[in-house]
């Protein structure tokens, strides 16, 4: 294995950053739930870098490793008809290649 070629990708985002999940529907094994695609949230924490599960699922190495974050969303951002408190939140683990910088007017 060539170590230099497998250095993890650098994290683009920091805790508190606004992000938006890509609205995409590629084929294959994906771990980004449909219900958060296209939605805006904030980085809660960086979890480290891990081999990309979309590659691992097909017996490939998944390198370079993808930074993984926990992203916090307001429930009302995900479900327009959410019936609980407006303060309710959800945190989802999302890989960096699914995230774009978010707008300032979230």
């Amino acid at each position: 294995m060539i170590v230099a070629a497998s250095a993890p990708l650098s994290p683009r985002f920091r805790p508190g950053d606004r992000v938006r999940v890509r609205r995409a529907d590629p084929p294959g094994h994906l771990r980004t739930p449909f219900y958060c695609r296209g939605r805006a949230g904030r980085i809660e924490r960086f979890c480290g870098a891990f081999p990309n599960p979309e590659e691992l699922a097909y017996n490939r190495a998944g390198l370079p490793s993808q930074p993984l974050y926990r992203v916090r969303f307001r429930q009302t951002e995900l479900w327009p008809d959410y019936t609980g408190s407006a303060a309710d939140t959800i945190e989802i683990e999302i890989y960096q290649h699914w995230l774009e910088p978010g707008e300032a007017t979230e």
Binding site: P33, G48, T89, E93
Partner: protein, 211 residues
């Protein structure tokens, strides 16, 4: 005679025997397992031991971490920073598990779900309950968590934030429930008995000591 007795003549529930022909994936699993053993990649003993370990894990292990966090604020801070390291500090073997401990307080209630499958901190809680793996729980816990909690008997007032954790990737989650009132001076062992599996998933609170 109750319906239960009619269904189970031995007086206790039993798993149904699966006497039919193996399906495609069961056949594939058996074939791969037998090949791995035949080629010496794994041994029957190692396989049996791993099953025994998985079946032997139970929520009593997770409750030790919660009880320690309740009595030791410095340990709690370390557990919230790095859950896996906190487990090792207590001698709880968690292997490669990447644990995140989330703390419920008087202003925040945490609930864990894996919408994609059944990710669960098995070394600390044992095998997940069937309802945790059900499509109904997985879909509804993110969509209407307060309704799901209410069905478990856990009513969360509107002024308390409900935060759902969707375990979609490489992390696993354990809820550190709020310590019940009237437990001052209790030993860790006494406290651990108040911490159920459901409290560490977040569908329930810790048990309140009775009068």
């Amino acid at each position: 005679m109750s319906e239960l007795d009619e269904d189970h003549h031995h007086g206790h529930p039993t798993a149904p025997d699966e006497d039919g022909p193996l399906g495609y994936y069961r056949t594939l699993e058996v074939a791969v397992r037998e090949l791995l053993i035949a080629k010496g990649v794994i041994t029957v003993e190692a396989l049996r031991r791993q099953i025994e370990l998985m079946d032997g894990a139970h929520a009593g292990r997770g409750s030790l971490l919660v009880a320690r966090a309740w009595v030791d604020p410095a340990f709690k801070a370390r557990a919230l920073e790095d859950g896996s390291a906190a487990c090792r500090e207590l001698g709880l073997e968690v292997g490669a598990l990447r644990l995140i401990v989330v703390e419920s307080t008087e202003r925040l209630h945490n609930l864990v779900v894996c919408t994609l499958c059944s990710c669960y901190p098995r070394p600390l809680l044992g095998l997940p309950p069937d309802w945790y793996k059900s499509r109904a729980y997985r879909a509804r816990a993110v969509r209407e968590p307060r309704a799901v909690l209410a069905e478990f008997g856990t009513l969360i007032p509107d002024e308390i934030e409900v935060r759902v954790h969707d375990s979609t990737a490489d992390m696993r989650y354990l809820v550190l429930p709020e310590r019940p009132a009237d437990t001052e001076g209790w030993s860790e062992e006494q406290l651990a008995a108040l911490v159920t599996r459901d409290a560490m998933i977040g569908v329930a609170r810790a048990i309140r000591p009775g009068p």
